[in-house]
Amino acid sequence: MKKKVDIFHNKDRHGYNEDVKVFYDQIIDSSRSMISIINKDYIYERVNQTFCNAHKVSSDAFVGKSLGEVWGDNIFKNVIKKNIDLCFRGNTVRYEAEFEISPHGKRYFDVIFRPLPSESGKITHVLAETFDINDLKLSEQKAIQKENEYRNLETNLPIGFIRCDIKGNIINANRTFLQLMGYSEEESAVMNTSINVFYTSGTTFEYQLKNLRETGAENFGKIYMKNSAGIEIPCRVGGFLHTDFSGDPYFVDFSVEDLSKELLLENRLKQAHSLETIGVLAGGIAHDFNNILATISGYIEMISEDIQNCPDSNSISDKTSGIRKAIDRARSIIDQMLTFSRHSDQEKIHVSVAETLNDTINFIGSSIPANINIRSNTNVSDAMVFADPTQLFRVFLNLLTNAVEAMKEKGGILSVSISVVDREFLKKKLYKEFAADEYVEIVIKDTGIGMDPVVVKRIFEPFFTSKDAGKGTGLGLSVVYGIVTELEGEIFVESNKKSGSEFYLYIPVAK
């Protein structure tokens, strides 16, 4: 049986190799760890050079001192004692703790206690190996903090984030994405689902991955994604390919941004812009046409007078009267075009919206079929606007007439309501800034045949009509648009073939 070489306890034991001792001493002193021997009374019997260097004192300062004296009584009682006692019972113990070393202050250490049995087998000493892991610990803490910062960002940013494996299956999804796609905030609902499930026709993960292998990161632009209810939502999708150390694709991260509001705004801006362009054209043409009409009308008047004394005056006057009717028609169209392009003269005064609306309802009253019910809350409103009462009447007349027209076959309910809303409300509803503080909101709703999205898009365009040829000039709503715009208000419509149409008008409250 091999004799244990107990080289530390007896420095000058006979019969053992002095060189070996020196050799082992050198190994122990050159270790990067602080190495020490502690006896059952918790006293240091030996410490290595590293231990001394760390404390910047010689070994005499430690040998013979207790653990409590070197590290502090509190630390000894609360942190060290239980671990070293466990070791004296025969266990190898490893733990991490923060200790104060006077030259350096508080640092983190990794400590291993190994039991050192004597020749009899009883554990009389502990070999302590203490390694400075402060830098490692700080790096770890920083990494965790960064991870938390990232998690926070990922959770709270109003952009959806998902991570997919290289097959396109979702392995991570943030709250915004889940909300956007109509799942409750349970990530498990989308885990392991292929992202292709959300893509509508044309887009596939495979195609995107192919691009990403070349570009690394890409903005895929507008993609319609299907939510949990099957509804398509326009989204801006960006992709980023993560590769592992060998450069192979590892995951793909996607950002998914809801574009619905942006698109809505864009469309309304486009519509307003095109109507503006038409308006400029219409205004210019209208002026010239008015001159032409005035010239023709003047000559017709003169001709009518001239022919009064002619023998065929009756048949001629039928014709001149026909010309006059045509001139009147032309005049009406020009007038509407001028109103649409905001070139017409307005007589603006303080007008009660409720009064004007009620007047209009009374005006058309007799022509409303019995199968149409009117509901209005206009009596409770005293809201005033600064407008030409005739023009305002025209707006209401047009909208009410259209509503009745839409319901003439099957009847229905015509609802009319007035309220006052503020700038914040409108900002949330229409996603744009408004100039005045308060607006009068007038809603005219019908339960009639409604309009296709294609029609709704063009409804305010002059001469655009969904009616059959010969039944309407298509100028009515363009005139309404012109008047409302001239009042620095806003009008928009929601309509579908199932429930009918709702027109929303917003006119600044008169100050």
């Binding site: 009409l293 005035a294 000559y299 003269d345």
Partner: protein, 123 residues
């Protein structure tokens, strides 16, 4: 014989007005814009001025002021292609600046001539 000055940049319209007035035995003077009107204005033989409000070179509102300065007793009729007539509009502004009557195109010739005759008899 009452003299009428027509200030109108549209050639055909001006020609029509001239024809209508000559038929009723008015003597007619023409100008194609405001500046032209001031240059060719003959106060001694002109009782009534018909002017379009919106014209290139010098707008009709200014013309009203300047002609009235040259002959305070001259009657000015303002005409406009703009649509509705009423206070707060261009035409009402014309009245505020001294126009004696306002017409919007297309107007009745007979009504215009009636107005010219009414205004002339006031002088």
């Amino acid at each position: 014989m009452n003299g009428v000055l027509i200030v109108e940049d549209d050639n055909e319209l001006r020609e029509m007005l001239k024809t209508a007035l000559l038929r009723r035995k008015f003597s007619v003077f023409e100008a194609i814009n405001g500046r032209d009107a001031i240059i060719h204005f003959k106060p001694s033989v002109t009782d009534v001025v018909i002017t379009d409000i919106i014209m290139p070179e010098e707008d009709g509102l200014k013309v009203i002021l300047e002609l009235k300065e040259l002959k305070p007793s001259v009657k000015v009729i303002a005409i406009s292609g703009g649509g509705k007539v009423g206070p707060g509009s261009y035409l009402n502004l014309a009245k505020a600046l001294g126009a004696d009557a306002i017409f919007s195109k297309p107007f009745s010739i007979n009504e215009l001539i009636q107005k010219i005759e009414d205004l002339s008899s006031d002088i």
